[in-house]
């Protein structure tokens, strides 16, 4: 965790940035990008989303760059939602490398200002930061499409994706049905449909591939 500063002219005070990224190398990369961008002052750089709101409560932060999936299991989306609820004036940009289909919708529901996929180059984030601070909400048109077996991820229905998300937790059909308020028979039917579409041999292979690709991530 670091606190750094930058010099600016009196006319344009730099925007105060907080980075929330659990991995050292990517976090350092973002720190350097922010420092060299000129319009920004890096206030804090955190490794856990769980404490982000504490800094936002204490310091006049203008923009938070928030990763979604943290190694300590804290959720960037939950942290973003809390920050936006208590400090709607603070801009939040969600960053992720996961093509998890629900992230964009959950980010919008949480009031997140912008959303960026990390697979792009570093310059992309600077552009999004600039547009966000100008009041624009920048979201990708759609979740990145990934290949899952024989199909593109967009060929799975929303319900199938919900079932698949629970499946990756190792839940049984009964447990999935209870969570999603559908019968175990319906769950089995959805899984069978997904196996037929993707061409995977069994539900385990389907769940592992979906999880490896980051298509679905269990909420816990």
């Amino acid at each position: 965790m670091t606190q750094k500063g930058n010099t600016m002219t009196d006319k344009n005070k730099p925007y105060k940035i907080m980075i929330v990224e659990d991995q050292t190398m990517p976090r350092h990369l973002f720190e350097i990008l922010v420092e060299h961008a000129g319009d920004y002052e890096l206030l804090y750089s955190l490794e856990s989303a769980s404490v982000a709101h504490i800094y936002c409560d204490k310091y006049p932060i203008d923009l938070v760059l928030m990763d979604v999936v943290m190694q300590d299991r804290s959720s960037g989306l939950e942290a973003a939602e809390r920050i936006k609820k208590n400090h709607p004036e603070i801009k939040v940009i969600i960053m992720t490398s996961m093509p998890e289909v629900s992230f964009i919708e959950r980010a919008k529901a949480a009031g997140v200002d912008s959303f960026w996929y990390k697979e792009g180059d570093g310059e992309g984030i600077l552009d999004i930061m600039s547009r966000t601070m100008q009041g624009e909400k920048v979201y990708p048109a759609a979740t990145p499409t990934i290949t899952l077996g024989n199909i593109a991820s967009t060929e799975l229905t929303p319900t199938e994706l919900e079932v698949l998300r629970e499946l990756t937790r190792g839940a049984s059909n009964a447990e999935i049905g209870e969570k999603l308020f559908i019968s175990p028979t319906t769950v089995r039917s959805h899984i069978s449909n997904m196996l037929a579409k993707t061409g995977f041999a069994n539900r385990t292979e389907l769940a592992i591939r979906a999880r490896l690709e980051g298509l679905v991530i269990p909420e816990d």
Binding site: T24, M25, M98, K118, T204
Partner: protein, 402 residues
């Protein structure tokens, strides 16, 4: 007329012989008696009718009664046959028992066998090497089997049940061996399938745990690629500088960034839950005093760290304080009690558990912890963690000591 009567008598004769043979085969004594009488009278009647036909006269004092008896026995046999097919007799019960594929055996306490069917004798031959002559020997063999299931040499599987009954006020032991070969095969397949699925499920949960690490590796790799690309751009800019198309300032700026990238700190080990919270407290100017041993891991540590975060925020945001005290004690029930207090001003009125405190109560409830909040005379948040715990301790820098 005589010819017709003769033929009819011959038919009755052969029918009587058939019934006689059947009655002997099934040991139906009454049937056999009537059948014998019927056959004799039929024979005599036929013989007399032949004599009459040959001698041309139908009259005879003996012929009438014999013919009458023949007809009567025929009717009696028919009635008895109908009754037999529509009613269960002891012998028919025995017939049924003998034809069962399940084994049945009834014997007295001293081992004398009352009833045993062929199926049980067949099982006994595989189990004890001989037919059932002493029921106690069979029962002992069954008692030695696993889960009351016996397997015969032909691969059949029987579930054996032993009961005590009463027959004519005398205790009788009943042994029933039910053929469950097919059901057992299906059950075994289901058991293997369930075991396989459970194994796959555990593997999937393990994979899920490690996916996060894989994702982290993926992100690190991407960062390295970005750094590599940046260094590549630096080399291009050097050439461009020498070609006169790039200024010195631009080149130095790119150099500076490239050096910064190469100077990335080594990846540090993941911090535990308390380290991040304690550092945050230090950064926002809150001193955290810990008295006792905090839970090290699991649900308890999760709840306590969440409570620490809420109380840190509460201390500087609402109470204007700069010190948070955490006392860890054990109550009479060996529950761990974690109490949070601060040195700030007391709440103005009753605290409403909205936002962070409300969420904390949900977390505590989900993980089996009890939470109480006091507003007067000062703010106190108390977590009761059930059960026996073993703890290490954290210093204010977040370093763990066992």
């Amino acid at each position: 007329m005589t010819l017709f009567s003769g033929l009819w008598m011959i038919v009755l004769l052969f029918a009587g012989i058939y019934v006689l043979i059947d009655a002997i085969a099934h040991r139906h004594r009454l049937f056999a008696l009537f059948s014998v009488l019927h056959v004799i009278t039929c024979y005599l009647t036929v013989q007399k009718m032949i004599d009459i036909a040959m001698n041309g006269s139908l009259t005879s004092r003996v012929f009438g009664p014999i013919a009458a008896i023949t007809v009567i026995t025929a009717v009696m046999i028919t009635i008895m046959y109908i009754w037999r097919t529509r009613n269960v007799s002891i012998l028919s019960i025995k017939e049924g028992i003998d034809s069962l594929s399940d084994g049945l055996c009834y014997y007295y306490r001293d081992g004398r066998v009352k009833l045993v069917n062929p199926a049980m004798n067949s099982i006994a031959k595989d189990l004890i090497g001989q037919s059932v002559t002493d029921g106690r020997v069979l029962q002992d063999a069954v008692a030695a089997s696993k889960d009351n299931m016996v397997r015969t040499n032909d691969g059949s599987i029987y579930r054996v049940i032993v009961n005590e009954k009463e027959f004519l006020k005398e205790p009788v032991i009943e042994i029933i061996a039910s053929d469950i070969t097919d059901e057992y095969a299906i059950r075994e397949k289901l058991r293997e399938r369930k075991s396989y699925l459970e194994h796959q499920r555990r593997r999937l949960m393990e994979v899920n745990e490690s996916i996060t690490d894989l994702t982290i590796e993926k992100e690190i790799l991407q960062a390295k690629i970005n750094i590599h690309d940046d260094l590549g751009k630096t080399l291009v800019m050097i050439r461009s500088y020498y070609a006169g198309t790039t200024s010195k300032e631009e080149l130095l700026s790119v150099f500076d960034r490239g050096i910064s990238l190469m100077d990335s700190p080594a990846a540090v080990k993941r911090q535990d839950d308390y380290a991040a919270v304690l550092k945050a407290a230090a950064d926002v100017g809150i001193k955290v005093i810990i008295n006792g041993q905090l839970p090290v891991s699991g649900d308890d540590a999760y709840v306590v760290s969440a409570a620490m975060r809420e109380c840190i925020t509460n201390t500087f945001r609402h109470a204007d304080g700069d010190e948070l005290t955490i006392d860890v004690t054990t109550n009479d029930h060996r529950d761990t009690v974690v109490t949070f207090t601060n040195n700030g001003k007391p709440p103005e009125g009753e605290i409403k558990e909205t936002g962070g405190l409300g969420h904390l109560r949900v977390i505590a409830g989900q993980r089996g912890a009890d939470m109480t909040v006091e507003s007067s005379p000062r703010f106190v948040l108390k977590l009761t963690l059930l059960g026996v715990r073993r703890y290490g301790s954290f210093d204010t820098k977040g370093k763990y000591h066992d």
